[in-house]
C-alpha cells in the first residue's frame, strides 16, 4: 500500500479539537472544577448560617476527629467496603461458574439473576428492610426451624452492617456475574481440560488453572466493587440511615448529616476523606492486582 511508505499519517481534513470540546468543557466544568473546589472548601468555615466562607485550616478535621465522627465513619466505610467486595466476588464467581456455558437454560437464568441490577438501590433497600424485619419473611422462615426467632437484623450493629453490605452485593451481583462469565469464556477450554485429564479434580483445576486465568475480570470486579462500596449511600439511607447508633454511618451518610445541619465546610471535609480513601486504598489495590495479573 503506497501511503504506508510516507512517514506522515494521513488524516481527514479538519481539526480534532471540535470533537473534544463538548466533552472537555462539561467534564472540566461539572466534574473537575467541583472536585478541585472541594479540596479548598474542606479547609474552610462554610455554613448555612452565614454567606461568608473563610479559610480555617484543619479545624474541620480536628473537630470531626475530636467528636469521633470521622474515625467511626472511616472504620465503618472500610469495613463495609471490604465485606461487600468479598461477598460480591465470591457470590458472583460462584454464579458465573454455574451459568458459564452459553445455552438456552443459562440465558434464562442470566436474565433472571440480572433483574436486581435494574432496581434502584433505594428500592432494593426498602425491599430488603421488609425481608429483614423482626417479623418479616426471613425470620418467619427461620422460625419454622427455630420457633420464636425474632432477631432484628437491621437493629443490631454488627448484623446491620453486614446486612446492608449484603443488599449492595445483591443489587449489583447480576452485572459482576456477567463480567466473570466473560472472563471464564475467554479462558482457552483446552487448558482447563488438560488439568482435568492430568487427574486434577474440579476443585484443584479451578484453583490452579481457572482462577489465575480469571485475573483480568477479577481485577476489574474487585476494584469496581470496592471503590463503589466506599461511596455507599443510597442503600444505607433507605435501610438504617446510619443506625443503630452510628454502626452503619458510612462517610457519605456522615457527610449528609453535616450538610443537613448546615455545616457545609465539614461536609466537604468528609467528602474529601472519601476521595483520599479511594486514592490511598484504590491505587495500591489496582497496582497489586495488576502485578498479580502479570505473574499469573
Amino acid at each position: 500500500m503506497p501511503h504506508h511508505t510516507k512517514p506522515a499519517r494521513r488524516s481527514a481534513r479538519g481539526r480534532w479539537w471540535p470533537f473534544v470540546v463538548p466533552t472537555l468543557v462539561l467534564t472540566v466544568a461539572f466534574f473537575l472544577l467541583p472536585f478541585l473546589l472541594n479540596v479548598y472548601f474542606a479547609f474552610t468555615q462554610w455554613t448555612g448560617f452565614s454567606s461568608r466562607i473563610s479559610v480555617n485550616g484543619v479545624d474541620n478535621f480536628v473537630n470531626l476527629v475530636d467528636s469521633g465522627v470521622l474515625p467511626v465513619a472511616i472504620r465503618v466505610t472500610v469495613t463495609y467496603a471490604v465485606v461487600a467486595m468479598l461477598m460480591q466476588n465470591v457470590i458472583s464467581i460462584g454464579l458465573a461458574l454455574l451459568m458459564q456455558r452459553s445455552n438456552r437454560g443459562n440465558s434464562f437464568f442470566r436474565a433472571l439473576y440480572f433483574l436486581p441490577v435494574l432496581i434502584s438501590p433505594l428500592a432494593a433497600g426498602y425491599i430488603w428492610s421488609a425481608i429483614l424485619e423482626p417479623r418479616g419473611p426471613l425470620n418467619q422462615a427461620i422460625g419454622l426451624v427455630v420457633p420464636g426467632f425474632d432477631h432484628a437484623w437491621l437493629g443490631d450493629g454488627t448484623s446491620a452492617l453486614v446486612a446492608v453490605a449484603f443488599i449492595d452485593v445483591w443489587k449489583w451481583s447480576g452485572i459482576v456475574t456477567l463480567v466473570y462469565i466473560a472472563g471464564l469464556n475467554a479462558i482457552p477450554r483446552s487448558l482447563v481440560e488438560a488439568a482435568t485429564i492430568d487427574g486434577a479434580n474440579a476443585w484443584r483445576a479451578f484453583w490452579s488453572v481457572t482462577f489465575p486465568l480469571l485475573a483480568p475480570s477479577f481485577t476489574f470486579s474487585v476494584v469496581v466493587s470496592f471503590l463503589g462500596a466506599l461511596n455507599a449511600f443510597d442503600i444505607v439511607q433507605a435501610t438504617t440511615r446510619g443506625g443503630p447508633g452510628d454502626t452503619t454511618s458510612v462517610l457519605n451518610i456522615a457527610m449528609y448529616r453535616q450538610y443537613n445541619g448546615g455545616f457545609f465546610g465539614m461536609a466537604s471535609s468528609i467528602s474529601l476523606t472519601v476521595t483520599i480513601l479511594v486514592v490511598v486504598l484504590g491505587v495500591p489495590l489496582i497496582a497489586f492486582l495488576r502485578r498479580r495479573e502479570v505473574e499469573a
Binding site: 462539561l26 467534564t27 466534574f31 467541583p34 472536585f35 435494574l118 428500592a123 421488609a130 466473560a182 481440560e193
Partner: protein, 289 residues
C-alpha cells in the same frame, strides 16, 4: 465418536445428570435471591395497609389496586416520571454522542494536549464527584435546584465512562479504512458519522444500558441538587414518599411497595426489549473491551 481417549474426553458434553443438578441448584438459589423478593414486592403492593404490615408471602385476601392510584396522586408519580424522562433521555443522548466524538479524537490524535484531556476525563471514572462544591457552582451560575443544573452535572460526571470504554474500542480498530476514506476526500464529520458510529454501536449499546440504569436510579446528587417538589425525579419521589409515610404512622409498606413497583417499571420494560443483546454483550466481555 472416536474411541481415542483424549479426544473423547475433550468433546464430552456435560452429562445429563450433572446438567440437571446445575439447573436445580440455579433454580433453588433463584428462589430466595430473585423470586421471593420480587413476589414479596408485588403481592404486598396490592394489599391493604393492615395486611401488608404482616409482610408475608400470602396472596392478598383483599386486592387493593387503589394503592397505585394513591401513589399516582399523593406520590406525585406523573411529575416524577416526566422529570426522570426529561433528565435521563437527554443525558444519555449527550453522553453517548459527545463521549464517542471525543473518544475517536483521543484514540487517533497523538498530541500531548489530547493525552492530558483524555486523562482528565478518565479521572472522573475513578474519583467520586464532589457534591457540595457542585451546589456552590450551580448557585453561582444561578441554576441551583433546577433540572438543567442536575442534567449538566449528570452529563459532566458520566462522560468519562463513555470516553474510557469507547477510546479503548477505537484504538483496537484498524485506522486504514479511515485513512482511505480521508484520501477519497471524506471530512472528519463524515468519517465519524459513516464509519466510527456504526463500529461503536455494540459498545455504545451495552454502555448505554448500564448508564441508563445508573442515571435513572441516581439518588445522591438528586437529593442534594433537586430540592423542590416539582423537580423531583423518581428515586427522590420514592424517598420522600417513604420518609413522609413513616413519619405519619408506622411504615406504609403497601404504598412504598406500590411506589417501588411503579418506579422500577419503566426500566423493566426497557430491559425486556434489550435483555437478550445486553446480557449476551456483557457476557462476551463488552465492558472490558
Amino acid at each position: 465418536m472416536t474411541t481415542h481417549g483424549t479426544t473423547a474426553r475433550r468433546r464430552r458434553p456435560a452429562t445429563p445428570r450433572s446438567e440437571l443438578l446445575r439447573v436445580v441448584v440455579l433454580g433453588v438459589i433463584a428462589l430466595p435471591w430473585v423470586l421471593i423478593p420480587m413476589w414479596l414486592l408485588l403481592v404486598n403492593s396490592v394489599k391493604p395497609y393492615g395486611e401488608a404490615s404482616q409482610l408475608d408471602l400470602a396472596l392478598p385476601r383483599e386486592w387493593r389496586w387503589d394503592n397505585f392510584a394513591v401513589v399516582f396522586e399523593e406520590g406525585d408519580y406523573p411529575t416524577a416520571l416526566l422529570n426522570s424522562l426529561a433528565i435521563a433521555v437527554p443525558t444519555l443522548a449527550s453522553v453517548l454522542l459527545f463521549g464517542s466524538m471525543a473518544a475517536w479524537a483521543f484514540a487517533r490524535s497523538r498530541r500531548v494536549s489530547m493525552k492530558v484531556a483524555y486523562n482528565v476525563c478518565v479521572l472522573s471514572v475513578l474519583l467520586p464527584p464532589a457534591v457540595l462544591p457542585t451546589i456552590y457552582e450551580l448557585q453561582t451560575l444561578g441554576i441551583d435546584g433546577t433540572r438543567l443544573g442536575y442534567f449538566l452535572v449528570m452529563v459532566g460526571t458520566r462522560l468519562g465512562v463513555v470516553v474510557f470504554l469507547a477510546t479503548g474500542f477505537v484504538r483496537a480498530m484498524s485506522v486504514e479504512i479511515e485513512e482511505a476514506a480521508a484520501i477519497d476526500g471524506a471530512s472528519k464529520p463524515q468519517i465519524f458519522r459513516l464509519l466510527i458510529v456504526p463500529s461503536l454501536l455494540p459498545v455504545l449499546l451495552v454502555g448505554g444500558v448500564i448508564l441508563i440504569i445508573t442515571i435513572w436510579n441516581e439518588f445522591l446528587f438528586a437529593l442534594f441538587l433537586l430540592r423542590g417538589e416539582e423537580s423531583a425525579t423518581l428515586p427522590l419521589g420514592l424517598f420522600r414518599f417513604a420518609s413522609a409515610s413513616s413519619e405519619v404512622v408506622a411504615f406504609r409498606w403497601d404504598l412504598v411497595f406500590a411506589h417501588v413497583v411503579l418506579t422500577s417499571l419503566p426500566l423493566v420494560i426497557v430491559y425486556l426489549f434489550v435483555q437478550r443483546r445486553l446480557v449476551q454483550g456483557l457476557s462476551e466481555g463488552a465492558i472490558k473491551g
